[in-house]
Symmetry: C2
Subunit: 122 residues, 2 copies
């Protein structure tokens, strides 16, 4: 798949909240996943597909998703961006919040090799 095809597939799967299907079909084994902030003071970078699977497991277990919208994709050469607006509750604390962020993805040989999430600062 070229960059635009991968990008469209990400948007399609995210809208279905098909996180594991996205991981298994679109991600390179050596994916580097970068958060703006690290959880618990660790590294903001996660390396490898199994590391990202751990992040997906955490997300699915921790969050009740009321809505998850994806806008885009915005597509360049080997890079694309998707803008997300989510409405979620922490299952444990019941705290509900809206999240607005973008994902910046880099594609190589038809697979996502890097993803970086940037939260809205506005």
């Amino acid at each position: 798949m070229n960059t635009e095809e991968v990008a469209n597939k990400v948007v399609e799967l995210v809208r279905k909240q098909a996180w594991y299907e996205a991981l298994d079909t679109l991600y390179d084994d050596n994916i580097v996943s970068v958060e703006a902030y690290s959880m618990g003071g660790g590294s903001p970078e996660t390396h490898g597909k199994e590391g990202v699977r751990g992040k997906v497991d955490w997300w699915v277990n921790a969050m009740e998703v009321h809505s998850f919208d994806a806008k885009g994709p915005f597509v360049g050469h080997d890079r694309f961006v998707v803008q997300y607006d989510a409405d979620v509750s922490d299952k444990k604390t019941k705290e509900r919040r809206r999240m607005s962020e973008v994902g910046v993805y880099t594609v190589k040989n038809g697979k996502i090799v890097r993803e970086e999430f940037l939260p809205s600062a506005s």
Copy 2:
């Protein structure tokens, strides 16, 4: 300025369409500016502040801007993203169109060293 301060300043200046002020105050001399598509078959990359000034000159001379909205910024470590929705007319052909794209910016030592524009593919 840190990444978030540069990002907020970009949004502020773009909303005022203060392109030259943005260039002169926020851009590194060795800026690399990347378009998704090259104009006229040339390189999609422009190197250096004076090259980018040429792009701004072209834009200001060619386009009548009816509206130019900026959403964001979305801010990470050394990177930020702004989403643009513009309504413009080509001054020569009078063709009017809506443009939706994101800019992905990289900041180093308080200056923008790289910008990359990705048009909406949806």
